[in-house]
């Protein structure tokens, strides 16, 4: 009987946790955007006239084909990250594209129509130098790959190696490029620095060395043209070979300076200068112009000027990818793909029409925040009425009347729009989101996603549709910058605009700058941020507000001096009053030192606690606090015997994760320390032996979940720590770290997880009533929503009456991955790096954004939609039943009255 109950229980629990999307809900609440990253190689597919493909190989090790008409992806292949998947070269011939991947480790051939792999071969080891296609009599059949010491020759049709030869004198000669002009020979060109150039010619047939030429450096040729190289610049020669079976064009470019090019022509051994291309000085940076020049003559072609407007919030153009073609009237036409510093691709057609833009910076999102949208003008007007101070009865009445009038006006306008739209065919009515008509919806489900990318470009994206509403490129961002985005003022304080602050810190020097902006419009705020001459150690957002409702940001510099932003008199006064209760901590992971400081009234600090974890044994890998906007609804858990187990809800608790420096699989360990951030008291200290990182941690409410690699069992394991205060609460009204003498009870349990994970985050809801789920980004591209219920250290090993009463799931060592737990069904999110969760106005709903190479936004309902009626809710049935009942009561009442009357008469 007990077993039966257990089974039933299991079934109920499992079925209650089941959640999935229905087919008609696909894409209704979620969207995905796919990116490729910064372009390294691009190739327009020209072998068919009507082809509209451009092939891209990017720095993010992605190989993709874009539709040149729309900018959408035809297909995309995501390779391994890091140098292993690095794309070294891209060669196209007809329908095939040959890629050299991973510093010459692999040679791959792709079919470009569908993006299928033709063949792949592993090349001999050796660092890759150059590759080229080799043709004979317009027939391209081979590909030559030049490495540091060898040259190999492969068939284009199947990748088989035709021959491989060692390069002569490869210890001294630095071979750099390989070339063929279709005459049955392949040339390898090498340089001996400060001495000579070596050229080796191989026979295509069998790899035999036909001849070897060495050319002595002669400075006489170099300056015979009277060209002047910009000081400190290494000149670069750019030549083109349209067909690998033929000789390259006799015209070539010589880059003499960062912005200075010269078009030269090699004519019967003579070099002729055709044209100088000096940098144009733009009077305004708003527009750029492009011209097409004839390579043969160096003259500008008529009617080829293309002027396009640059995005004032974008970067400067960096690279052009030109697709030239002959028009029907035999004149030259062209399209151009402009790549700018902020990794944007803009495809432009003559005369200056922008066909599409792709914001490839979004492939590398570093951090993000979600900001509530502002109220509409009318709503704000009403709100503002309550905010203002009362000044007399009469004026209040007038104000109320005027705002009512405005509301009426807006309503009429709305009706008129409805009427107007109703006359148009449905397809023409578009609800396009623009910055002007942005407003909060009833349940605050639509928000502004502010995304910060590694390139230094900021984006404002509408969370409902995924359309980019604003962008802002910050130039002179250091390449190794760390970003921290903070919301200083939300949209709740109308007429003050919302305000976000981005802290940009150079990781090497520690010097930081602040960028203050309006998160809804992306405009830079007129509030001038303070200059920060000292390296910044720590920044913290206080719940204090200045008179303009901006939260105070404290910045701690390397002299342990604190500066506040905004630093008005009001703020400084508040800080002085609050100083003795403002504590903060610093982490020095190189020395393993965690130290706590207290603010003094003169904005200096004093060291109050110190914990030192010896860096020679273990190193601190992450320190996680709780999210400040997190609410916990219930103070405790009701046990089976109706007593309450109170949670230890310390808002100052830090979870510190360490990894051992000894990586031997028997001795390595992962350490977890729970430290109170105010007093420095170590609440709990545990080691997970025979374990190794990478460790992913989530810290929320009264629990910490972490994931590690078990070296002993060779598997991933999850562990959960929960803290309870016990059956009695020490001080139920307020929590103070300074007054909690008793250490909490610590419960811990571990589980096996059958997959690696990329990232870990917990759901977050408005009031914290909804049960929590863990969102796990898997390397396969799935995002798993795992109920926290399964990670509960109170899961009993032996089922008892009480645990059943409490609805605890019996312990099972393995956490299963159920396919219905994937919140992104088939919308794979490549290379997930982070998951961001934000509460919505509905308690049941949590907004989720997963970012990595792709961006995926969706909503999750951890306890199902208990506060929302279903989409297919039968309003008709309910209302008809209601009405029927209503009339039935009316009729029966009438009948009863008649009956009573009749009885009275009798």
């Amino acid at each position: 009987m007990a077993k039966l109950i257990l089974l039933c229980l299991k079934f109920i629990i499992l079925s209650s946790a089941v959640e999935a999307v229905f087919e008609d809900q696909v894409g209704k609440f979620d969207w995905r955007q796919e990116y490729v990253g910064k372009v390294r190689f691009s190739h327009f597919d020209t072998h068919v006239q009507s082809s509209k493909k451009v092939l891209l190989a990017t720095e993010n090790n992605v190989f993709a084909a874009l539709n040149t008409r729309t900018g959408e992806l035809f297909w995309r292949h995501v390779d391994k990250t890091g140098p292993e998947g690095n794309i070294d070269a891209l060669l196209q011939h007809g329908q095939d594209v040959v890629l050299v991947v991973g510093n010459g480790r692999l040679l791959r051939s792709w079919e470009i129509n569908v993006g299928g792999l033709n063949w792949e071969i592993v090349l001999d080891s050796g660092s890759f130098q150059s590759a080229c296609l080799v043709g004979q009599q317009d027939n391209v059949k081979h590909v030559a790959v030049l490495k540091k010491t060898v040259i190999s020759f492969h068939y284009l049709s199947n990748g088989h190696q035709k021959w491989i030869e060692n390069l002569p004198e490869s210890e001294t000669v630095d071979y750099q490029s390989v070339y063929s002009d279709g005459n049955g020979e392949v040339y390898a060109l090498g340089i001996v620095p400060h001495s000579h150039i070596a050229i080796v010619a191989y026979s295509v047939e069998d790899g035999e060395i036909i001849k070897q030429v060495t050319m002595i450096h002669s400075s006489s040729i170099k300056y015979s043209l009277g060209l002047e190289v910009a000081p400190g610049f290494h000149p670069v020669l750019v030549s083109t070979q349209p067909n690998p079976g033929r000789q390259p064009l006799s015209e070539f470019f010589l880059q003499l300076g960062p912005d200075y090019y010269q078009l030269l022509q090699l004519n019967n051994g003579q070099i002729v200068t055709l044209r100088d291309f000096k940098p144009y000085l733009f009077s305004s940076l708003q527009a750029s112009s492009l011209n097409l020049f004839s390579a043969e003559t160096g003259r500008r072609l008529l009617d080829t000027t293309l002027i396009f407007n640059m995005d004032p919030y974008g970067g400067k153009p960096e690279k052009l990818h030109v697709q030239a073609f002959l028009k029907k009237d035999d004149s030259v036409g062209y399209r151009v793909m402009v790549q700018t510093e902020d990794h944007t691709l803009t495809f432009i057609q003559q005369p200056g029409r922008v066909m599409w833009t792709r914001e490839e910076a979004l492939s590398d999102v570093v951090t993000m925040e979600m900001v509530d949208l502002p109220l509409t003008g009318t709503q704000a007007e009403l709100e503002g009425e309550f905010g203002k101070k009362a000044d007399g009865l009469m004026s209040m009445v007038l104000k109320r009347l005027s705002s009512q009038l405005i509301l009426l006006q807006a309503w009429i306008a709305h009706l008129w729009k409805l009427f107007y739209d109703a006359r148009k065919p449905r397809s023409q009515v578009k609800n396009e989101v623009t910055i002007e008509n942005l407003s909060r919806d009833e349940f605050n489900l639509q928000k502004m996603m502010v995304m910060v990318t590694a390139s230094g470009k900021l984006f404002g994206i509408d969370s409902k549709t995924g359309s980019i509403l604003w962008r802002h490129y910050l130039d002179n961002i250091p390449s190794n910058a760390a970003f921290k985005l903070m919301v200083q003022r939300t949209t709740a304080h109308f007429p003050h605009p919302p305000q976000c602050t981005l802290l940009i810190k150079d990781k090497d020097t520690g010097l930081a700058t602040l960028h203050v902006f309006n998160p809804i419009f992306g405009k830079k705020s007129h509030v001038s941020p303070p200059a920060l001459p000292q390296p910044i150690l720590q920044s913290l957002m206080l719940p204090l507000m200045d008179q303009d409702y901006a939260k105070v940001l404290l910045l701690v510099d390397d002299q342990y001096k604190v500066s506040a932003f905004p630093s008005t008199k009001n703020v400084l006064q508040q800080l002085q009053e609050m100083a003795s209760s403002i504590f903060f901590y610093l982490v020095d992971s190189t020395q393993g030192r965690l130290s706590g400081y207290r603010l003094r009234t003169d904005l200096s600090t004093e060291l109050i606690w110190e914990v030192v974890i010896p860096a020679e044994v273990q190193k601190i890998v992450s320190v996680k606090g709780k999210r400040p906007n997190e609410h916990v609804h219930s103070q405790g858990r009701v046990m089976g015997d109706r007593s309450v187990l109170y949670k230890y809800l310390n808002p100052n608790l830090l979870a510190v994760v360490t990894e051992s420096t000894d990586l031997h699989q028997e001795r390595s360990f992962v350490g977890i320390l729970l430290i109170d951030g105010v007093t420095g008291r170590i609440i709990h200290e545990a080691v997970q032996r025979k374990a190794r990182g990478p460790v992913h941690v989530v810290h929320s409410e009264n629990w910490v979940v972490y994931e590690y690699w078990s070296t002993k069992s060779r598997r991933n394991e999850f562990s959960v720590i929960e803290l309870y205060e016990g059956m009695e609460l020490y001080n139920s009204t307020v929590f103070s770290s300074l007054d909690r003498p008793h250490a909490p009870q610590v419960l811990q349990q571990s589980y096996i997880f059958p997959s690696y994970i990329s990232t870990l985050e917990a759901t977050l809801t408005e009031k914290g009533i909804t049960s929590r789920h863990l969102l796990i980004g898997l390397p396969s591209g799935g995002i798993l929503s795992l109920p926290k219920m399964f990670l509960d250290p109170r899961r009993p090993e032996i089922v008892s009456e009480q645990s059943r009463e409490e609805n605890l799931i019996p312990y099972a060592p393995e956490l299963l991955i159920r396919t219905e737990w994937f919140i992104n069904y088939n919308q794979t999110v490549s290379r997930v790096r982070g998951i961001y969760t934000a509460p919505s106005g509905l308690e049941s709903t949590c907004l989720v954004v997963a970012y990595g190479l792709d961006i995926y936004q969706t909503r999750v309902y951890p306890s199902k939609q208990f506060d929302v009626l279903k989409d297919d809710y039968d309003y008709m049935l309910i209302s008809s039943v209601l009405f029927a009942l209503f009339f039935a009561t009316m009729i029966s009442k009438r009948l009863a009255e008649v009956k009573l009357l009749n009885r009275a008469w009798r």
Binding site: L4, Q618, A686, D739, S750
Partner: protein, 252 residues
Amino acid sequence: VKMARLLQFKIAVVSTVLFVVCTNLVCCNNGRRVGDAMDTEFSGFSVPLEHSFEVDDVAKFKVRGALVLKAGREHSVSLTQNQLSEEDRAKLKEVAAVDGLYRIRVPRVFLQADRQTERQMDGYLTAFVRACAMVESHLSDVIALYSDVSGYLIGVSIVTLPGACRGTEVEDEVDLEVFNTTLSIMAPVNAPGPETALFLERMEQETEKKGKNPQEQKSFFAKYWYLILGGAIFLMATNSAQPPAGGEGEQS
């Protein structure tokens, strides 16, 4: 900056002086404990426990007592401490009145090392408690030392019992004379791994049970077929989209 440096220098001087004092103390202790050390396998060693409470909140550490640490499988610790002098008592009350801090610190040590020189490392571990809490609890504090896996001391904590500052006046000076300290040393606990062995054992037991009593196993459907059938019909009737009872059968 200069001020701070001067201060640091002062602290350094004070601490070196203190250090000399402590080392003396250590010597004394060791001298006393030579006899004990012969008996026990692990000889204890002593480090100073220092405290500081100043009205201007600038730390000036003075010796409060000596901690005797014993390394071993289970670290142990004991404390000998002096009484608070008349002057200190007055100062502590003064500090409590301005809501100052009562700080303690211990030097960083490596418990597992054999020689004294290897034990000492530079730097201190510090912790604090509000001075008023110290006064109001009549100097009853709980001090905990924390060591890491390899035996390094990594942290110290102090709390008082009761921990709150209620503003009650401590009249009797005698209450502030003797420390009533509860001392402990904590090593990290081993976090549990997944409990596969126990789970498998339980599974085996269950299968054994099943094997022993096949009647009961068989009678599941025999007993409850009407329930299952009824449930299936009910499910089918209410929601045609729901899969029929086959799924449930599999689950069972």
